[in-house]
Symmetry: C2
Subunit: 183 residues, 2 copies
Amino acid sequence: MSVDLRVVKTRERLHESLIALLKEMPLEKIKISVLCQRAQINRGTFYLHYESIDALFADFFEQIIADLREAYLEPLRTKSPLKIKELDPKTVRIFHHIKKYESFYRIVFSKNVPLAYYYMLLEQITLNLQQNTKATHVDNDYFIAYQANAIIGLALQWAQRDFQETAEELSEILVKILRSKSE
Amino acid sequence: MSVDLRVVKTRERLHESLIALLKEMPLEKIKISVLCQRAQINRGTFYLHYESIDALFADFFEQIIADLREAYLEPLRTKSPLKIKELDPKTVRIFHHIKKYESFYRIVFSKNVPLAYYYMLLEQITLNLQQNTKATHVDNDYFIAYQANAIIGLALQWAQRDFQETAEELSEILVKILRSKSE
DNA sequence: TCACTTATTGAACATCTGTTCATTAAAAAT
DNA sequence: ATTTTTAATGAACAGATGTTCAATAAGTGA
């Protein structure tokens, strides 16, 4: 009753093939036909599993987002919800996460890629913020959206600088910004 | 030495054709072949002007961004740079701008569209913020990136709510958020 | 092990893409 | 008004897409 082994193998081969090709060319240049050739998979079979290269990549990114979800749970074991004034840069996990998967986030943040990946990341950060903050504002959804996008904004800027700074430095910048407003 | 009339006409027809088709189907479903058929333009001619449907749309969006640039200059005629504490919701123009071009921003914020449009909007908001704020932070670029993306974040949330609120309400929410941090 | 279920295959098809090139025709320059 | 310039055309091409369908073979379950 579990998943058919053939399905598992096919998806595995497609995944491996994508990773291999990503080392040779940008995501948008990868053709389904070439991917399948490499993976030794019939092109028609590809469409039984994914509708596009982007959907295949989204499958990967889903796993990465899952890792972010778990990373966020870590600092919350100590105390929750966090208050800005007590916020220690060391409890901020997001930038370490991004650095860990830097090669993926270079793609996720690249111009020719669909906005869908941005939304996937945004959704997870939003969920994390919702759990960590009390609903103090009347317009809480907007407040959360503001914060979540602002954090991604730092990540975008970081990417634009080719990830020169360390994750710790980014965390400190975030904390500094958050504190600078409650002076 | 001005632009050849034929070029102007061709681009005009392509623009009109795109607008017409956007009323029938989402951007990503518009085929170059169909667009050219409608515009009575040879398909090869399309490629003399644009490399893709996305590039054609970007051409439109460029004009819209230009309108945003001008709209931002308006409240600055009174006093500059603005300070948060004096910030009046009526001086915030961004949400009126988005509401004005709502049908375009529904596309710009949609999942299957390239991130490039987001960056175009981000760049303009960033430029506007850079002009309106003094460089108080050491990490000023990050601070600006934080603010600019946060504002777009409000717009994204607004779009997700199908633009139910008025532009004034969004402006007030922004001002409220900015003030709530300097209490 | 054998019968069953179903994922994968290969071939074929219409459509769309991106490009080339000689020809035509529209606009600019004189 | 005529020449010159160059944008637009139409045809043709290889390659990629997305889909269908009967045949095959791999995996499941008894």
